[in-house]
Symmetry: C2
Subunit: 212 residues, 2 copies
């Protein structure tokens, strides 16, 4: 009950990154509690009590309530702090299109190339595996964005789709996906990466990022 | 523009199944357009125009608008047809908890044991792979449901969480997950499986299910 928002986060976690961007856009101050995934801190008995799924992020509200799963957290923040910065439009169809892009990334791409899955895939195969799934998903995404993108994924208004896009592009580059196939994704990501709220949420700018 | 809801569906697709349950609960009539995934009909040029991601489900609205991604479709139906049958409570925290369970299944479990991924994992390893990821996810889910379940996942009120749970349990049984570890999941699924709306959405009761 520290009377403030607390985010359990790891600098390189895509899902934590999404929530960091959302909190920044909505100008919500929060305290970062760092959970080092490489050191398996998410598996500690202490953290398991906070998040039985042993993943980040977890958001602790000022009243002690605990929320997990990045997309559920985004939806909560949008409902409670819509006036601070609106990330879903009022129109139901447009909202569905944005959530569809969110799920394409958050369900069809990201989980399959997530660390815990790559570990099971094995050292010799993981690079090819990650690259394949991201490339497949981005092919669809590029087609969808052709219809909707302006400066950002949906016109010139930042939405949930942009929040999940940026960490996924970072992973794509990390796994050497040929981004020249995806000019719209590249353009949108470049526009977003210039914004303070996105810069401040970047892994390199987190307190738990090791000095390079 | 046939002036009716049309669902592009495959009897065994978990994501199509979710939308079928939701449409039934909300008493929305729809026409089924069957897309045979085994025959790769989702990869036809005709279907790619409807859904560039080449997956089911896709929901075509009476005015010709097209929605994809099961969770985005559920959210749309809830917003437009809340009065017909409410699947998310008004309270923002409870809503977040339900969406968290939805994402646990729809992002952390289901995509990793989906057909297209199992194909890449390979014939000799896929059974063990699917069983592992479902078991891991159900361990977390059982802990979460201990706090929230009544007759259903959240008290005695059917929610989005129940809609995604039922197809996931079907997959668990198919992949020989030891369900005796998960008494709450088993109890909730049994309660749900008795309801007409769930029975009518079951793969066995779809027009494209081959005769046994």
């Amino acid at each position: 009950m520290d009377n403030e928002l607390q985010l359990y986060t790891y600098f390189r976690s895509s899902a934590s990154w999404r929530v960091r961007i959302c909190l920044n856009l909505k100008k919500l101050k929060y305290k970062s509690n760092y959970v080092n995934l490489l050191k398996q801190e998410q598996k500690s008995e202490e953290y398991k009590k906070i998040n039985p799924n042993q993943v980040v992020p977890t958001l602790k509200l000022p009243d002690g309530q605990i929320l997990s799963q990045s997309i559920a957290i985004l939806e909560y923040l949008e409902e409670k702090f819509k006036l601070e910065y609106q990330l879903l439009p009022d129109d139901a169809i447009k909202k569905a299109q944005i959530r569809s892009v969110v799920q394409l990334i958050a369900s069809d791409i990201h989980p399959i190339q997530n660390l815990r899955v790559l570990k099971e895939v094995g050292e010799d195969k993981k690079a090819e595996w990650a690259k394949k799934w991201i490339t497949d998903g981005f092919k669809t995404l590029e087609i969808l964005l052709k219809e909707t993108a302006g400066k950002y994924c949906f016109g010139d208004q930042i939405s949930f789709a942009d929040i999940v896009l940026v960490p996924q592009v970072y992973n794509a580059i990390r796994w050497k996906v040929d981004m020249s196939e995806f000019p719209i994704i590249v353009r949108v990501e470049k526009n977003l990466s210039l914004l303070d709220e996105f810069v401040n949420a970047h892994p390199d700018n987190q307190g738990d990022c090791p000095p390079s």
